[in-house]
């Protein structure tokens, strides 16, 4: 078996291509519900120009410590979301992770599950990290179930750290250790 890090059954990871992908990323920013699920910054619509600029700034700030993948479907090569590893603390083997599937039509079909399994494999078998950390919010119950299902543990509950729709919500931190992931994903025999 040849190891495939970027090819899943339904999806694959590709590099962010500003010229091709900015349009669809901009389209998703018109959906505040989506933005609120993936970020604590105030929801705001962005043009493809702003998407490109933000990406360039993010890359500049992160230097080499940013691994940003666009999720594309195997079936018709559409861009459906993103998955990225950032804030890498190489000396501690810790990094943060976030992902999103932009359109509700593309959710609940197992594509997000495939993406998170691929990003975990990348984090632990390519970047050799010790652990991966992810932030989410009390109101995003979908993400909480999703993370628990994929082996993450709830580690921190920052009380009332998010104010939305007239009330406070807790900010949640989830973590998974390489050992926990490895226990469920024994090394494949790639020798032959």
């Amino acid at each position: 078996m040849v190891l495939q890090l970027f090819e899943g059954k339904k999806i694959r990871f590709a590099a962010f291509d500003a010229d091709r992908d900015a349009e669809i990323f901009a389209k998703w920013t018109n959906d505040p519900t989506y933005l609120r699920l993936v970020d604590h910054e105030p929801a705001r619509p962005l043009s493809p120009y702003h998407i490109k600029k933000r990406f360039e700034e993010m890359e500049k700030e992160a230097g080499h410590a940013l691994y940003y993948f666009v999720i594309r479907t195997q079936a018709d090569d559409r861009v459906i979301g993103f998955a990225h590893i950032f804030w890498i603390e190489w000396n501690h083997g810790n990094a943060h992770f976030n992902m999103g599937i932009g359109s509700p039509d593309d959710r609940r079909q197992g594509m997000g599950s495939q993406a998170i399994e691929m990003i975990l494999r990348y984090a632990f078998e390519e970047l050799n990290l010790y652990r991966l950390t992810v932030f989410t919010f009390e109101y995003n119950t979908g993400a909480q179930k999703f993370l628990a299902k994929h082996g993450f543990q709830l580690e921190v509950r920052r009380r009332e750290a998010i104010y939305r729709d007239g009330r406070y919500w807790d900010a949640l931190t989830y973590g998974i250790l390489a050992d926990e992931w490895r226990a469920k994903n024994p090394a494949e025999d790639t020798a032959q």
Binding site: N91, G93, R131, L154, E155, R159
Partner: protein
């Protein structure tokens, strides 16, 4: 109204300038101290880096202070509100008493009390957060003393000297802080 918003019982919070660079850089000779301040690998004292930090552009997400004694106006440490999120009303606080002579004597707790007053009465935040290395018991004891509550911890996030430790997360709500002021 507080006449001296930035003044505590032992210390006051001030700006820092180029006259403080030598003192601040000197603190970095203490590896143990340095490791507790940041997840970055420690580096030897670097006056140019300290100068850059002291002269860093201020913005609404970043409120750094020097901690000076009321007694003799000596710079003994720093306290900083960072990642200030004015939309959500949240911020992170970092603190260090660089001068070892002043640790364990209430100066840090006093500085923390003052910066919380600033966070809640001047910035009008809803909560203040912090992370600490789980083995830093004097610091954690001080945070509990001023009203911080344990909110969890990330497992094995700190890797130094061949050992892994948790980072503990703590937070204080404006309401919790307010209730304590009425008791004082």
């Amino acid at each position: 109204m507080h006449e001296h918003l930035l003044r505590g019982k032992l210390v006051r919070l001030t700006a820092r300038d180029e006259r403080d660079v030598e003192t601040i850089a000197g603190w970095d000779r203490d590896t143990h101290y340095n490791r507790l301040l940041s997840v970055e690998p420690v580096t030897p004292p670097d006056r140019r880096a300290v100068r850059k930090m002291v002269e860093r552009e201020l913005n609404p997400k970043f409120y750094p202070f020097g901690v000076r004694t009321l007694n003799d106006d000596k710079l003994i440490g720093f306290v900083v509100l960072m990642h200030v999120d004015h939309v959500q009303g949240d911020a992170f606080v970092g603190i260090g008493i660089g001068d070892g002579e002043y640790r364990g004597k209430g100066y840090g707790s006093d500085a923390m009390n003052v910066v919380l007053r600033f966070a809640f009465l001047e910035l009008n935040l809803h909560r203040v957060s912090l992370d600490a290395v789980s083995t830093n018991t004097p610091a954690i004891r001080s945070y509990v003393k001023v009203g911080f509550v344990h909110e969890g911890g990330t497992r094995g996030t700190e890797h130094r000297g061949g050992k892994r430790e948790d980072l503990v997360s703590m937070g204080i709500l404006r309401s919790e802080w307010q209730a304590r002021q009425e008791h004082d």
